[in-house]
């Protein structure tokens, strides 16, 4: 599941970070930074609206919906054989060999958590503070078998959420703890960039 | 017997001083004679040179006899197994008054005059004395950790004073 693009949108809909990875750099060359800003605020609005149009019945039964996301081991981490050779790089202030190791509850209850098209799949991770992490992946879900599809869809979704929570962890370390970063502003941290790139590379 | 205790800073500036008076009545001289009392700071400062000499001495000088513990000293006991190389023991005397000293790693000098008792030959209890110094040292370190205390300024904290007096009561006769 190659990640092509990563966007971070702040709570007021402003784009604070965007990166393309690998082939996507070439593919999205024509988009200007202004276009990205528009994409970000559009997504922000769509997410808000989707929350409104989620069927009422669904909302009433919200307690019945399981928002638990299982832990998928090793998403975005260096593969085990490479870690044997070279010493594992430390995960910032996170102890151990992975950022987290337990299943968790999704904060995103809008109904829009994943968007699948013929060209790409988009994953949305939203935090309690209103931040949105959006990843666009090149992988397209197979359409042959309905059962298979829904299973794959679930797995992809889980991997997406695991991946994005890890990006959130990196963000909390390298962006929030950078004393020179001012809140809600575009992220220019090189450390953050490097860590994100590493993780995206590991997901491929 | 009474004691006069002082902490002297690196530049020979006084940081703390206290006089301990024993509460036991059986000893006739619980307090320094008033004329001596005023001399106490001078006597202490006079012995500081000896402390500084001892500080850099590499080998024990037991022959002189004015060091009551031969393995005492600071750098001298680098290879000694005992951890209490800060305690210098009895370093000086002045008309029957004994003076003991202790030096911290940062060069703060703890010195004390042991007052005369009726029995002038009464030896200083080295063990208790050492423990007293060590515990005061610990208190001093805690004071240093207080963000409102500036190193080498006089210690004015009443709690420090109280604790030191408690220690004196416990370990010094």
């Amino acid at each position: 599941m190659a990640i092509e693009t990563l966007l971070i949108v702040n709570k007021s809909g402003g784009l604070i970070y965007h990166r393309n990875f690998g082939e996507a750099c070439e593919k999205r060359k024509k988009l200007t930074s202004n276009d990205y800003l528009i994409i970000a605020s559009t997504l922000h609005s769509i997410l808000a609206i989707s929350g409104q149009i989620t069927p009422r019945a669904l909302k009433l039964n919200q307690d019945d919906i399981d928002y638990t996301i299982p832990y998928v081991p090793g998403v975005g981490m260096p593969s085990s054989d490479s870690s044997n050779n070279s010493k594992m790089s430390k995960l910032g202030s996170f102890k151990g060999d992975d950022y987290f190791k337990e299943s968790f509850t999704s904060w995103n209850k809008s109904g829009l958590r994943q968007l699948s098209t013929d060209q790409f799949t988009m994953f949305v991770y939203q935090t309690l503070t209103g931040l949105k992490f959006i990843a666009i992946s090149s992988s397209v879900l197979p359409k042959n078998n309905e059962m298979e599809t829904s299973k794959n869809l679930n797995l992809a979704n889980q991997i997406g959420d695991n991946f994005l929570r890890k990006i959130y962890c990196i963000y909390s370390d390298y962006v929030m703890k950078d004393p020179l970063y001012s809140l809600e502003m575009p992220i220019k941290s090189e450390n953050f960039d490097k860590k994100v790139q590493e993780m995206v590379y590991n997901v491929q | 017997m009474p004691q006069y205790f002082a902490i002297i800073g690196k530049t020979d500036n006084p940081v703390y001083e206290a006089q301990f008076i024993s509460t036991q009545k059986k000893d006739g001289t619980q307090e320094f004679p008033s004329d001596l009392k005023e001399l106490n700071p001078f006597i202490l400062h006079a012995s500081l040179d000896i402390v500084e000499d001892l500080q850099w001495q590499m080998s024990p000088i037991s022959s002189e006899g004015n060091v009551s513990v031969s393995r005492g000293g600071f750098l001298r006991s680098k290879n000694a197994s005992t951890a209490d190389n800060c305690y210098l023991g009895k370093i000086d005397h002045f008309y029957g008054l004994a003076i003991t000293a202790y030096i911290t790693y940062s060069g703060m000098k703890f010195v004390m005059i042991h007052g005369t008792s009726t029995n002038t030959n009464e030896a200083i209890d080295d063990n208790n004395c050492r423990i007293f110094y060590q515990e005061v040292h610990e208190l001093y370190i805690k004071t240093l950790m207080n963000p409102f205390y500036n190193a080498s300024e006089p210690i004015t904290s009443p709690i420090f004073d109280l604790r030191v007096r408690q220690l004196a009561k416990k370990y010094l006769k």
């Binding site: 997410l47 989620t54 202030s93 151990g96 | 963000p147």
Partner: protein, 196 residues
Amino acid sequence: MSSSAGQQQIKTLKVLGEDVWKNKVEKINSELFTLTYGTIVSQLCQDYDRDFEKINDELYKMGYNIGVRIIEDFLARTALPRCTDFNTTSEVISKVAFKVFLNLTPTIANWSQSNDAFSLIISDNPLSDFVELPIDAMKSLWYSNVYCGVLKGALEMVQLDCDVSFVSDILRGDNQTELRIKLNKVLKDEIPVIED
């Protein structure tokens, strides 16, 4: 919330806090931390000419800036869902937040009648190890006021508008260190719409 379910929840939170603190957080030397904070406060005393009211404000502001940032770290680490009521919030603060960042579990006490304010009793405050307030500061300086700012900032980021302040402090000669948190309102407008 039935009380047994509440007890259960408190237990889970406690386990979570301990687990995160034990297995997921890199630690630093506590004396280094204590001394660093002490230096900041005593430097502020110098810079502000011992105007302790101002120093309190300054510490509060510093805390606020820490709070709005550290909340992200907290959420990334724990992934806790939104609290259903202020009761839960108090438990999360005490059993998870204080535990994870300071290895401390303040006691929750003195709930107000309307259940919108409570106190945290902090024993063994790591910030004030070794500290003895100067006499002139005894009456007006809240030495650990940075806590208030942190809590204010962090709670505000999860849309809880609270007043946070010290009521008493052992350093001032009181017999316990008490911090009061009062909920003003839940900032409904700012809750991300997609959560509803």
